[in-house]
């Protein structure tokens, strides 16, 4: 529902989790707000809006991207994946299943961003060593101290892939 129309709103085509959407928004609108408020995808979280915490991380064309500072207009024709795209609470994807198996959440507010950062890492580097995992995750903050569980979940997901389990 709109109370007033913006003069500069535009129709923007977005592909999110394999589905095409047309969204009416000002081109500079950060992807985070479009995902949450227009597409009803709440996985990506607002943590800082300043590119400092990673809570809003999504994957664009295979790379981890901070949705709080990504104007939606730059994503025209690109493939956005959010944590909803990897599975659902009822049917979690393999990486999500690894997070569940390791109890890798305390409050869980940072976790969707962690999952997406890890997803981008494992897409680019299916067998990361410990230092590579820690370096790749360094920009995402967790205040609950869930780090050991998150690391274990990423190792578990990577090991599962090594073991040849279907993706």
């Amino acid at each position: 529902m709109r109370e007033a129309q913006h003069a500069d709103d535009a129709m923007i085509s977005l592909t999110v989790n394999g589905r095409s959407h047309r969204v009416e928004a000002a081109p500079e609108t950060p992807l985070l707000y479009v995902l949450r408020d227009d597409l009803g995808l709440d996985g990506a979280k607002f943590g800082c809006g300043l590119g400092q915490c990673g809570a809003c991380t999504v994957v664009v064309d295979g790379r981890a991207v901070l949705s709080c500072l990504t104007p939606v207009a730059v994503l025209e024709g690109r493939a956005v994946t959010t944590v909803e795209g990897l599975g659902s609470p009822e049917a979690p994807g393999p990486l999500q299943a690894a997070f569940i198996a390791e109890n890798a959440a305390q409050c869980g507010y940072c976790i969707a961003g962690m999952v997406m950062r890890a997803h981008a890492l494992l897409s680019a580097n299916p067998h990361p060593d410990e230092a590579e995992i820690r370096a790749a995750m360094a920009l995402n903050l967790c205040r609950c101290g869930t780090h050991m569980r998150i690391l274990a979940a990423i190792r578990r997901a990577a090991a599962r892939r090594i073991a040849g389990a279907a993706p």
Binding site: E3, L41, D42, V83, E90, I133
Partner: protein, 739 residues
């Protein structure tokens, strides 16, 4: 979480229609209340009725109620386990309702590691009583002795194979009565659900984008608000060009009440940009100056304080002869710094206000908001929704108050308020700066003969229930003043929490200097004063051991009588491999505490590495041994300890709120750095000493103090330097190392 706002005082959960409470104490006959309350365990003492905790719907669906909240500590899972165990039902069949002023018992705050002691204990007894009531009803029907009946799979089973579904017994089972003092509890030796590492029930939604947080709550017609706070506390709004902001597309209203300023828009991003414009359109004047950080501790030592002697032993004994050691320890202001800024959704229908919040106490919040708005408490309902981990009193209550004020201004529309990162950092109440002074005398045998300890601290509790505790209430045209700060009394204590050592001290004095001034807003941060007191006591114990030429672990054991304390110390030392040689530049450190001297026990052994060139300290590995009484879910406790160690490591090595005379400087993650993945230890092992049948002991905060002290003690061993100020700054390590 879209869908209509739940209609007032009704809720459908697990197939059961719950009709709003009225089932607190008042619903019980006076005599029953008195009788019921007497001697009942945990929160049952305040809410003795079985159906305050366990309700069964007409369809047999069972709902468990708690006045506590899920804060990311795994509370939901643990409480479901306890109820399932006693009811004899599968955990996945139970629904759980957490803190809601219209539905659940009032259990105050979810704080102080009380949830297991208070709520799980009450639920355990209430569930056992409910099971007995079901068996009783079935026994009457079947003409059998209820003792011979069991509850399983949604039915009561008789030894002869007859089976009565729970739903058929609902009408006859007497749940609207006080739980008996002696509930027929299950034998812990036969536990099938409690003690198991049941997967957390809330995690699947959190890893897959399911509705999980207040931040995700949606309601039809919901609008988005952002507040604009002054540049510093106490500043007044001198001038405002509201019209230009109100005219922005999408803006519904600019709301001003005194110095409380906010903007509401239909779309969230419009609210964000309008908030920035509004901040630019406001001119503020005045405001409080802050103390000079360079003289923070000198100033703290001079502030007026109320002195309380909280412990004295051997007062008449003469001062012992021997060697006296003294030290002063310091702790800077530190913050909760939740990853998700505070958020709330409120709706006012003209007479009733509903507030959805992630604050730690719905009942006190209701009281404060009712006072702020001049509404009868009965017309305010507060419902807990999960938020980002809070670790104490953060901005959640303030966001709830913001939302309540705006909802009243826009009746009929749910208003969602979310703070910015900067507002969260700048306006949350911090953990207090503190000073401790300790001296002790060692006798000829190297034992502690006398102990004198003073902790000097501002308050650690400025939470609601008073309206003046809500930040926006202080800015209104008719402002509410912040109530004078209060000390929390022993045995739990606030600034003096854990100030009394658990060690054998023949002659001891422990004093609390409660500082009544509060230059920076402070309140409860995970473990309150225990973090600093345990840091001080356990650092000093190492200093004494060193003076006595004793091994730190042996020195502790020589002063510990409590068998459970000794057990965790020995377990941590053993698992760690205490006493083994470490590589150059590394050191081992040890610390122990029993949280509040009445909750869980924790001993911690750590290995650190000190980088000579930078003075930086890295936690390499840690072994924690924990006794939390009867373990409900081992993974729940493990995760609390792991999280506590990592969070406290971050406090201990990196964190101090920065400020200068003009104001606060820690405004975001760039100015308040916390631990990141490369900083966390290579290994972190938690060893649980299960005590089947023993009371549940809260473990959520027990790791904070021991972590600080163990790291400081390890730095001493690795680098030869004793650091007595938190955080342990690399400059100090480096200076001590001599470039």
């Amino acid at each position: 979480m879209s869908g209509p706002l739940l209609s007032r005082r009704t809720l459908v959960v697990g197939g059961a229609l719950l009709v709003g409470a009225g089932l607190r104490e008042a619903a019980l006959p006076g005599a029953a209340r008195a009788a019921g309350a007497a001697g009942l365990p945990g929160s049952l003492a305040r809410h003795p009725r079985i159906d305050a905790w366990i309700r069964i719907g007409p369809d047999g669906g069972v709902t468990v109620l708690t006045g506590k909240s899920e804060l990311g500590q795994g509370l939901r899972t643990a409480l479901i386990q306890v109820a399932a165990e006693e009811l004899g039902l599968a955990p996945e069949t139970l629904a759980l309702v957490t803190s809601d002023t219209a539905l659940t018992p009032d259990e105050g705050y979810t704080a102080g590691s009380h949830s297991m002691q208070d709520s799980a204990t009450a639920i355990r007894h209430a569930a056992a009583a409910a099971r007995a009531a079901l068996a009783e009803a079935a026994g009457r029907r079947l003409g059998l002795d209820p003792a011979g009946l069991s509850v399983r799979g949604g039915a009561v089973l008789a030894p002869d194979g007859r089976r009565l579904p729970v739903r058929d017994l609902v009408a006859e089972a007497a749940l609207a009565v006080a739980a008996p003092a002696e509930a027929p509890l299950r034998d812990p030796a036969a536990y099938a659900v409690v003690g198991r590492a049941l997967p957390r029930v809330d995690i699947p939604a959190k890893v897959a984008g399911g509705p999980a947080f207040i931040q995700d709550f949606r309601a039809p017609g919901m609008v988005h608000a952002r507040v604009v706070r002054p540049p510093r506390a106490g500043a007044r709004l001198a001038d405002l060009d509201a019209a230009s902001v109100a005219a922005r597309p999408g803006v519904i209203r600019v709301h001003r009440d005194g110095d409380f300023l906010a903007v509401v828009a239909a779309r969230e991003y419009d609210a964000v940009t309008a908030m920035r414009a509004l901040a630019g359109a406001a001119r503020w004047e005045g405001g409080a100056r802050l103390p000079d950080p360079a003289t923070l501790f000198d100033a703290l030592a001079e502030l007026p304080a109320e002195r309380t002697l909280i412990h004295e032993a051997g007062a008449d004994a003469p001062a012992p002869a021997g060697r006296t050691v003294r030290a002063r320890y310091r702790r800077h202001y530190q913050m909760h710094a939740s990853i998700g800024p505070s958020c709330a959704v409120a709706e006012f229908d003209g007479t009733h206000l509903t507030v959805r919040s992630h604050a730690q106490g719905m009942f006190p919040l209701r009281q404060a908001i009712a006072e702020m708005l001049g509404l009868a408490e009965a017309r305010v309902r507060c419902i807990h929704h999960e938020g980002s981990g809070c670790y104490g009193h953060n901005g959640a209550d303030d966001a709830a108050a913001d939302a309540a004020l705006l909802a009243r201004a826009l009746p009929g529309r749910p208003v969602r308020v979310q703070h910015t990162r900067e507002q969260e950092h700048l306006w949350e109440p911090y953990g207090a700066a503190m000073l401790t002074d300790v001296s002790a005398t060692l006798d000829a045998g190297g034992r502690i003969a006398a102990w004198d300890y003073t902790v000097r601290s501002p308050t650690h509790l400025t939470r609601p229930p008073r309206a003046g505790q809500l930040l926006p209430a202080r800015s209104l045209a008719q402002p509410f003043a912040a109530p004078p700060p209060k000390a929390l009394p022993q045995p739990e204590g606030g600034g003096d929490r854990n100030a009394i050592p658990l060690y054998r001290l023949p002659k001891a004095r422990v004093t609390h200097d409660f500082v009544t001034a509060m230059p920076l807003r402070v309140s409860a941060l995970r473990s309150l004063g225990a973090y600093m007191n345990v840091f001080s006591i356990e650092s000093f114990l190492d200093e004494l051991a060193e003076a006595a030429g004793a091994d730190p672990v042996a020195f502790r054991l020589a002063h510990l009588d409590d068998a459970r304390a000794r057990a965790v110390v020995e377990e941590a030392a053993g698992r760690f491999g205490w006493g083994r040689a470490l590589p150059r530049g590394r050191g081992a450190g040890f610390a122990f505490a029993r949280y509040k001297n009445l909750a869980a026990y924790c001993a911690l052994a750590v290995e650190v590495e000190v980088a000579r060139e930078s003075g930086r300290v890295r936690l390499v590995r840690a072994h924690a041994a924990v006794d939390a009484g009867q373990v409900i879910n081992p993974h729940g406790i493990r995760d609390q300890i792991e999280g506590g160690v990592i969070q406290a490591m971050s406090w201990t090595l990196y964190e101090a709120v920065r400020f200068d005379a003009d104001g606060l400087r820690s405004r975001d993650w760039s100015t308040y750095p916390i631990a990141r993945f490369p900083d966390v230890p290579d290994r972190l092992d938690v060893h649980l000493l299960d005590r089947p049948g023993a009371p549940f002991l809260g473990a959520g905060e027990v790791a904070q103090g021991p972590t600080a002290a163990a790291i400081a003690n390890a730095v001493r061993q690795a680098a030869g330097v004793r650091l007595r100020e938190l955080p342990l700054r690399p400059e100090h390590v480096k200076a001590a190392l001599g470039a």
